[in-house]
């Protein structure tokens, strides 16, 4: 019991740190550049997607959830008619595996912290790991 009491402030501090975390400006700027060149056409400038065609990136489980799943969407594209938060989207997404680990890390961190989203960064290491496993 005493131990838990002792840990509580540390847990609180950790939570505050996580909540206050923000990606650095350079990462966001690089991510936006990758987004504007590769993603904006279909997912739109506001991340809203196109109803029934291209999924939105705003507050969806695919963006805010598993990083591995999200990295794989970029690396492998998407051509299955999957349901995303109750809706289906008919356009295909081509693989973007020509992007570097750094570019994918930047753009996914940017997406996860734009369009009203707030989620942890996707690191270069995350991308490297998923890319190696998907080969």
């Amino acid at each position: 019991m005493k131990k838990i009491m002792f840990l509580a402030p540390a847990v609180m501090l950790a939570l505050v740190v996580i909540a206050a975390w923000q990606p650095d400006k350079e990462t966001m700027a690089r991510g936006k550049k990758v987004y504007d060149t590769n993603c904006l056409t279909c997912h739109q400038a506001d991340g809203g997607g196109v109803p029934n065609l291209n999924p939105p990136l705003e507050k969806t489980s695919w963006v805010l959830g598993s990083k591995t799943r999200l990295i794989n969407v970029v690396l492998k594209g998407m051509n299955q008619h999957l349901e995303i938060d109750g809706e289906r989207y008919s356009n295909v997404m081509a693989p973007f595996n020509h992007l570097t680990d750094q570019q994918i890390s930047d753009v996914l961190t940017y997406i996860r912290n734009s369009f009203k989203n707030k989620a942890s960064a996707v690191t270069v290491g995350d991308v490297k790991y998923v890319r190696a496993k998907s080969k």
Partner: protein, 429 residues
Amino acid sequence: MRKYFFFSLVSGLVSLSVLAGDSTHVSTKKILRNTPINEGLEMPAGFSAVAFSNGLGQARHIVTTPQGIVYVKVDKLVKGKGILRLKDTNGDGKADDIKGFGTFTGTGMALRGDYLYASSNSEVFRFKLDKNGEVTNPDSPEKIVTGLVDKQQHNAKPIALDDKGNLYVNIGAPSNSCQEQDRANGSKGQDPCPILETAGGIWQFKADKANQSYKDGVRYATGLRNVMGLDWNAQANELFVIQHGRDQLDMFPEFFTPEQNAEITAEEMFMVKQGANCGWPYCYYDVQQSKKMLAPEFGGDGKKTTRCEGVEQPIVAFPAHMAPNDLLFYTGSMFPEKYKNGAFIAFHGSWNRSPEKQEGYYVAFVPFKDGKVSGKWEIFANGFAGVPTVMSPREAVHRPCGLAQGPDGALYVSDDVKGEIYKIVYKGK
């Protein structure tokens, strides 16, 4: 057995009209504020619009019967039903009796004689109508066509009928430009494009024969990427179609900027005779140079016209990416003379015009005389989007999708965002 079901909406409307009898001043004001003039549409002088119905969800193509019943094909089931039947029983211009039937989603709908045709994304069915325009077999339609390609992209199967017993079905290409890797930067085109064997064109079937598939049909016209609007023109005695032109020219950034992609590739309207080749995926129509150009996937660079000289030319080239979702030749007498036999087109509105603002989201009109285009096209009804500028498609509150002409000559327009059915009438100046 319960063949039909009634929406709670019906009772909702009934109770609304009952309530209206003793409505207070406040609630009347509220209703007025919530109902903009002409449903927010801007139209030429003398025209007005009301909401014939509302809240039907993804209302796609629509037809009207001679008795004035409106059938709506929905692409998302409404209380488990894929076709809605709307009736205005008290003549106030609004549907007050709504029923649903059919369990398949989809887009296509057409009417000829005593039959209502409706399509899923892979099949075409028909229902028999009685003398009141009511469906007699809501639970057991005849399956006319089956086994058509459905690979998500461009899978809607809009349909049209001629007066010789033929059914025309659009089979959209599940692709943007038949690249080896669809919608991938710089990916080359597959040459010849194998998609054209089973899609990317209009197929003709018999309107009254059950269970037809590719082997029973005729590839009537090819080289059409995706046709959402098709209609038989009785004056020309030919089929007219309007194509969703290609996207993303800027996947070849060495030749095209995003701004050029936003402006260049026309939405083409064609008269298609049997055997017509309209050029997709090898050619697209450039609205700035007014000619068919070789697509970059097949060696084009924005200048070459190789292998495109012989293909079908559009009779109207509309601005890029506006997404024509329906075509209707107006044969009614309610509208002024200039509209007679002309074409109305429902533009769903663009998505592939970034960084420019999106375009479309309106109903356009093309004048015709003796089955030929006789003047410049114009915007007929605008304001569906409900906002002055659409940058991202989700900002549009309504998007036009289907067109039908009522027995009185009124024009019905469906919206597949909220499921509003607009009824546009002309009362003169």
